[in-house]
């Protein structure tokens, strides 16, 4: 893929910024997206990440013009396309879209599919000549590395190839913005990883403003420069993958963007404001917490929004009683500390029981049952394998951990 010659024709003329302001989408009264404001810088790749039913597709379709927001404004480039009194039809927004299943026209060949958008009159004001169109089609197919397959019918292609054709089709007309709705979720695991990488390369090459929808955190992280986490129609946090993973704004985000143990601890040392530099401007106060994993350096958040619960599966919640020998347990501040499985290290000992082992090759995931019966997930790359039923000891090995009042 990366070897494909750079093809200027396919590059978008202007990578337009997309701005959403207070956008609300509702279906017969029920709000699917509520008051979402978001700016997607021109040329950047932004992921809309969220669980099923959270409103990702609705939001994307609102940008495309396939749904009509009930409130708020959408701006593409410098041009308002949707808002009070404003409505630009989807076909006039110069927005490309790739659907989950590619939605290729089964009755047209691959080349005809790609050509389809080029024939539309008045794209960028002028009509394209036949020869110009053929060039564009060829370029687009080369870009997605399918130069040879122009004459095939969609059904004769593999799922991955179909998605790449869909991509070529949506890029050929040089859209100002490209929207992708779970472009890979129809592909099976191995294929997905591969196609994902290829698409990433293409998008970087073309430098088109891209918004894509996914509920797969890996996908969002690998592909997105920035990730907007959606939850029940609202945006919970926007940031770089690293921000989200290491400095989640809420326990919910923490749990959704990766596996999370929430370990209960007691805030020991008084809070010093030494984390400022690391966390930037208005950093939360930091300190140390006593947990069953030993002392953990934490930076404490405000009480997290009560109404957002833990995401269902991702977070085996751990209730660890404060160490018994500490009499002033109840007075001290009880907090819940975010511990990523990879920051739990295992050592010979008898403090915990291995209840489940998942072998992945490059690393191994253990489920442990601690003395008090609570469970803890750990990931290690060490080549030494523990088996179900083994006993081990656990320790926290990581930098500053996020914590919330318990």
């Amino acid at each position: 893929m990366a070897s494909t010659p750079h093809t200027p024709q396919v590059a978008t003329r202007h990578a337009a910024e997309v701005a959403l302001d207070g956008v609300t989408v509702s279906y017969d009264g029920v709000e699917a997206v509520s008051d979402v404001s978001l700016v997607v810088p021109g040329g950047s790749i932004t992921a809309l990440l969220g669980p099923s039913g959270c409103g990702k597709t609705s939001l994307l379709r609102a940008i495309a013009g396939l749904e009509r927001p009930t409130a708020g404004t959408v701006t593409v480039g410098d041009r308002p396309v949707s808002g009070p009194g404003t409505w630009v039809h989807p076909e006039r927004r110069h927005v490309g879209m790739v659907f989950q299943d590619g939605a290729l026209f089964p009755h047209l060949t691959v080349a005809q599919n790609v050509d389809f958008g080029l024939r539309a009159a008045g794209r960028h004001g002028r009509r394209l000549g036949r020869s110009e169109r053929t060039d564009r089609v060829r370029d687009a197919l080369e870009l997605v590395d399918l130069a040879g397959l122009g004459d095939r019918l969609p059904d004769t292609l593999s799922g991955g190839q179909q998605q790449r054709v869909a991509l070529a089709r949506s890029l050929a007309p040089q859209p100002a913005v490209l929207l992708l709705d779970e472009p890979f979720s129809a592909l099976d695991a191995t294929l997905r990883v591969q196609v994902r990488a290829e698409v990433a390369d293409i998008l970087r090459e073309v430098e088109v403003t891209t918004v894509f929808v996914t509920h797969d955190q890996d996908e969002a992280f690998v592909l997105g420069d920035r990730v907007a986490v959606l939850h029940e129609g609202r945006i919970e946090q926007v940031g770089t993958p690293d921000d989200l993973y290491r400095r989640p704004a809420t326990p919910w985000v923490a749990g959704f963007v990766g596996e999370a143990n929430f370990v209960q601890g007691l805030l020991g040392a008084a809070l010093a404001d030494d984390g400022g530099t690391e966390h930037g401007g208005d950093a939360p106060p930091t300190g140390h917490a006593a947990t069953l994993l030993g002392s953990v350096p934490v930076s404490l958040h405000e009480r997290s929004d009560a109404e957002t619960p833990m995401p269902p599966e991702e977070a085996p919640h751990t209730e660890i009683a404060a160490p018994a020998e500490n009499p002033t347990a109840d007075e001290a501040a009880a907090i819940s500390v975010l511990v990523r499985p990879e920051h739990v290290s295992l050592h010979p000992g008898r403090c915990a029981l291995v209840t489940n082992v998942e072998y992945y090759g490059h690393d191994v995931r253990y489920e442990l049952e601690l003395k008090d019966g609570s469970t803890l997930a750990a990931r290690t790359t060490s080549s030494h394998l523990y088996a179900r039923g083994d006993r081990v000891c656990v320790r926290y090995e990581g930098e500053m951990a996020e914590a919330w009042p318990a």
């Binding site: 939605a103 009755h107 593999s158 949506s170």
Partner: protein
């Protein structure tokens, strides 16, 4: 996705099919083909025996040309109207969609000659159309006949043949095809033309084919409207110059078969019936266009339903008022009509299903031949088909004692109208994924139980829809009923014909209304409620 296709393919050539011996696999369709092509074979053979095709030609050319004109015009118009209405009632926010979906199918229940008669009456002074036109200042044409008239009437009563399959197809069309076309810069109209239409093509072609066959083999309407087609040659000369009559019938047949073959080749690969609409299609906002749309529906329903019913109503009402007629004598015909129609529908589906299975699951020359034969049964003018079957029954020792008994009559209906069940049966078969049948096998050794608890329920909507068409056609069938029914057996159609022949219009009106109501009732109770044509 590759995995899916391999599983599908695997199942195709899988043990499931190997279990059926290749002999049976081919024999069953072939046997059915033989039965269905019996009448056609007879017609051609008789034509050959009478050997007058050559000198008859000059008398046939003109009617042939007129027939082609009419058939092409009617099927083309029906295709447009049927598709348009299907689109309006499934894809847009047309007010009262569900209502229209039912109403717009009903014209199918009128025998075309009753429809024609009703039109003629309606245009007469005091007739509903006449008065309607007068009221808006147009004076009604003094004569309602010829190509135009035949075109209008036949279209008005056959477009549902297109409407039904296209509506069903719309239900299976992934909505996001339209949406991606919009995203690629096409207006909704352009999208319809360049994306939706090609997807509908098989359904439209299939429906138009039925309309075409209906038109070329229709006699009632064209004779009343004084448009001289081949079927009128068949009738006019049936007694005085049988060579010519059979020659004309053969030409009709050959024309029809040619068109059938053409359609089969043009249809292209059948689209898999994937209920793929991931998220509900957003109905297209008609906005100001809602008014014209409603008007269109009203006009079509008006022509196909209101006008005839009104004319027939006025006739009936006169007679009822004077007490010259009553429902009494219609009870028996109604019962017999209903029963034979339903039986014929069931049998037809049962007979056509194996062909549908063959054409969809293991296409082969034999299965294609069977399909063509089945469809060809619709192409023979009713009278000729009836005579043909009479001769075949009379001269087949095993059958001759069944001559003029209900079984043979039912057989005639099945052969004549089986084709109308074929298309929907084919999509019904496609609606049973291979892997469902396979998991059925792994769980349940008893074939019968699998068949009844897995295959049939899944096929039901399609089969019911197909049976419905056969039922409607049978309800109004005339020539075969007259000649092949047991002595003393009469249906609503024969009552209508008898009274109309002698000009007892009151009786005609009443019987027709009863027929319409019966058809509507049966269609609703047995078909619409069960098939997915209306839902979605």
């Amino acid at each position: 996705m590759p995995t899916v296709t391999t599983t599908g393919a695997a199942a195709m050539s899988g043990v499931w099919d190997r279990r059926i011996s290749p002999v049976a696999r081919h024999l069953v369709p072939i046997a059915i083909a033989v039965v269905f092509s019996g009448p056609a074979a007879f017609v051609l053979w008789r034509t050959f025996r009478l050997g007058a095709l050559s000198e008859s030609l000059d008398e046939i050319i003109d009617p042939l040309w007129r027939t082609i004109q009419l058939a092409v015009l009617v099927s083309a118009t029906a295709a447009v109207i049927g598709t348009g209405l299907a689109w309006l009632t499934t894809r847009t926010d047309l007010p009262g969609r569900r209502f229209w979906r039912v109403v717009l199918i009903l014209p199918l229940v009128l025998p075309s000659f009753v429809g024609a008669a009703a039109f003629i009456a309606g245009l007469a002074p005091g007739g509903i159309i006449h008065d309607a036109l007068e009221s808006i200042g147009i004076d009604a044409p003094r004569r309602f006949r010829g190509l135009g008239a035949a075109w209008l009437v036949l279209t008005a009563f056959t477009y549902p043949y297109v409407l039904l399959p296209v509506t069903a197809r719309f239900a299976n069309l992934p909505a996001n095809l339209d949406e991606s076309a919009r995203m690629l810069g096409l207006s909704s109209t352009a999208t319809f033309l360049r994306v939706t239409l090609p997807q509908l093509r098989p359904a439209i072609l299939g429906g138009s084919l039925l309309v075409f066959l209906y038109t070329v083999s229709d006699f009632g309407a064209v004779q009343l409207l004084g448009y001289d087609t081949l079927t009128r040659v068949v009738y006019a000369t049936r007694q005085t110059n049988r060579a010519l009559s059979f020659a004309a019938a053969s030409v009709v047949l050959i024309l029809a078969l040619a068109v059938v073959a053409l359609e089969r080749s043009q249809r292209g690969a059948a689209q898999p019936d994937r209920r793929a609409t991931v998220r509900p299609m957003r109905p297209i906002r008609l906005g100001w266009r809602a008014m014209p749309a409603l008007l269109a529906c009203t006009v079509v329903a008006g022509i196909g339903l209101v006008v005839p019913v009104a004319s027939l109503g006025t006739w009936a009402q006169r007679g009822l008022a004077e007490g010259r007629i009553g429902f009494g004598e219609l009870i028996d015909p109604t019962i017999s009509t209903a029963s034979v129609s339903v039986i014929a529908a069931v049998v037809a589906v049962g007979v056509v299903l194996p062909v549908a299975i063959a054409t969809t699951r293991r296409p082969s020359p034999s299965s294609q031949a069977a399909a063509v034969a089945v469809i060809g049964g619709f192409a023979i003018p009713g009278l000729v088909l009836a005579l043909a079957l009479a001769v075949l029954t009379l001269n087949t020792p095993a059958l001759s004692r069944w001559y003029q008994t209900l079984p043979v009559l039912i057989g005639a209906y099945v052969i004549h109208f089986g084709s109308q069940a074929l298309a929907s049966s084919e999509s019904a078969v496609r609606a049973v994924p291979a892997n469902l049948r396979e998991s059925g096998r792994l769980l349940e050794p008893r074939r019968g139980r699998r068949w009844f608890h897995v295959d049939l329920p899944l096929m039901r909507p399609g089969l019911v829809a197909g049976g419905g068409l056969v039922m409607l056609a049978t309800l109004k069938e005339l020539p075969a009923t007259l000649l092949l029914s047991p002595i003393g057996f009469s249906t609503l159609a024969t009552e209508i014909w008898a009274s109309y022949e002698e000009g007892f219009y009151a009786a005609t009106g009443l019987a027709s209304l009863v027929l319409i109501m019966l058809s509507a009732l049966l269609t609703w109770a047995l078909v619409l409620r069960r098939s997915d044509v209306i839902r979605s």
